[in-house]
């Protein structure tokens, strides 16, 4: 069953500069195309990873799907209905720190807990979610008092407690150190298994995409279009070094122009 349908989606930004920087640069009047004619469907409850070169428009695509921006042409349908704006039904986890630094971990998570009307129940839920992401005992800490990984976990908890139908994660672990990243990956696999949310996940890390996703959508350079759509019907935990995973990994590296998979 399709949860999200992206149809003929294009986005161009108005160019502010009057002069072209170079002949190949986009002109003033026509706008600068970022996304061109994107078409894909996302299955309900799936985990889809988006990879592609830097600046190819992945984040723009996500912002449109989250309702923060409007497409130039085309549309995004959720359950057959076009997206009209931001909503707690599709929560965005930002590339940079999206926690409010002036709120404690608990207050931040409480932002997503609006659906619980009973205050006692709400507080219990908030504590449960913080506990789940391993932040028990840090409820009253401010973000700047938490480590990078803890902050990401708090943000994931804030997103999950809202019980979103769609979770849009824009390179959520990009700024973390290697070990913490691996831990977060593992936790994301658990999250995917425990929650029904349809997860969309941008990453630069092909291994991350291979380990997490049910599917990889590879976007081309600017203006962006779908370059490859790779299903990953493998059980977790996955070992990237052997078997079909290993050959697939090589294939993807080859796709992006790196001939010897590292």
């Amino acid at each position: 069953m399709n949860k999200i349908e992206v149809r003929g989606l294009s986005k161009s930004y108005k160019e502010r500069r009057k002069k072209r920087r170079s002949p190949g640069d986009c002109g003033y009047r026509h706008g600068c195309p970022v996304l061109q004619d994107l078409d894909f469907r996302i299955e309900e409850g799936s985990f889809t990873c988006f990879i592609g070169p830097s600046g190819c428009g992945k984040s723009t695509l996500f912002r449109i799907m989250a309702g923060f921006e409007k497409p130039t042409t085309g549309e995004v349908l959720v359950d057959g209905v076009p997206i009209s704006g931001p909503s707690t039904r599709h929560i965005f986890v930002f590339q940079e720190d999206g926690l409010f630094p002036w709120m404690t971990a608990m207050e931040n998570v409480a932002l997503g807990a609006g659906r619980f009307s009973d205050p006692v129940e709400r507080e219990r839920e908030i504590r449960d979610f913080l506990d789940m992401v391993g932040l028990k005992g840090f409820e009253n800490h401010y973000p700047h008092e938490l480590s990078g990984g803890m902050r990401r976990r708090a943000e994931v908890a804030r997103a999950l407690i809202a019980n979103p139908e769609i979770l849009l994660m824009d390179e959520p672990f990009g700024a973390l150190d290697f070990i913490t990243r691996l831990q977060m990956r593992e936790e994301m696999v658990n999250v995917h298994q425990m929650f029904d949310s349809t997860i969309l996940f941008i990453t630069h890390d092909i291994d991350e995409a291979l380990q997490l996703g049910d599917r990889i959508i590879m976007l081309s350079g600017r203006p962006s279009s779908v370059k490859a759509d790779i299903p990953l019907p493998f059980p977790h935990p996955r070992d990237l070094a052997i078997g079909e995973m290993a050959s697939l990994r090589k294939e993807i590296y080859f796709h992006i122009g790196i001939h010897a998979a590292l």
Binding site: P86, F94, P101, L111
Partner: protein
């Protein structure tokens, strides 16, 4: 050790400065009416303190700075918020603000005297002017420079209506505003001396001007020192605001 050093260093530097002062006065044989030495100034300070004049002057100056600064805060922050949030208001008022801002409060002295007469009101008005425009600009640019992520997170989690302002906008700009307050208070304290040179019969600025007119350089220097000390005290007090838990994040981030 670090803590000890923290308290010791200023003491040493001040001590050296005073010694250098005394030495310079003695070596160059500067007569007291030109520039008094530290001992003469300490004597003058004692004289002023015992007569109650020092305390009355400090009270008067602080009174004026407090009112001018508070009034400016109460006026500038709301207006700055409106100008930051609402584009047309900014387009309308910003040119005017940018035009008035560089006019030194001191240039307003004749106008202030004409409108408000001699006394506290004029001085308060000048302090108000010196604080109002910087605070207004601080607030406005704080609103304009809020991270777009915070606004999106708010939209995403359905924070709407008044809560958008109380939960997101205000806390996000609070650190910038506190920095603005700190800088502005410093300016206000700078301006008070000038403001009190208008015919008010009290305040530290008056103490200095009166000291000059009556050729009491020791009073002048004593007044200068008091201004320095109170300036430090004010800055220290307002810097406590930066220690508030909901504000401290900025320091960490930097």
């Amino acid at each position: 050790m670090a803590l000890k050093g923290l308290h010791l260093h200023p003491l040493i530097s001040f001590g050296l400065a005073i010694l250098a002062w005394e030495a310079a006065i003695r070596c160059l044989d500067v007569p007291a009416y030109r520039f008094p030495g530290p001992l003469a100034v300490a004597e003058a300070m004692k004289e002023l303190a015992l007569s109650g004049r020092l305390f009355a002057s400090i009270t008067a100056s602080l009174f004026r700075v407090t009112w001018g600064f508070y009034l400016a805060t109460c006026a500038a922050i709301p207006l700055g918020l409106v100008m930051g949030i609402y584009g047309p208001a900014r387009a309308f008022l910003n040119p005017l603000v940018q035009f008035l801002r560089p006019i030194s409060p001191l240039a307003w002295i004749p106008v202030a005297l004409m409108w408000l007469g001699i006394g506290d009101r004029s001085a308060i008005f000048l302090i108000f002017l010196s604080s109002f425009f910087p605070l207004l600009v601080f607030t406005m640019s704080a609103v304009l420079s809020i991270k777009v992520t915070y606004i999106r997170v708010g939209l995403n989690f359905g924070v709407t209506g008044l809560k958008r302002y109380t939960k997101i906008l205000l806390p996000a700009i609070l650190p910038d505003i506190i920095t603005g307050l700190r800088i502005t208070l410093g300016t206000a304290w700078l301006v008070i001396v000038a403001a009190e040179m208008i015919a008010v019969k009290s305040g530290i600025g008056y103490l200095i001007i009166d000291g000059r007119n009556s050729m009491r350089m020791d009073y002048v220097v004593a007044g200068m020192i008091v201004i320095g000390i109170i300036g430090l005290a004010l800055d220290w007090t307002i810097s406590r605001l930066e220690m508030l838990p909901s504000v401290r994040w900025v320091r960490k981030r930097r």
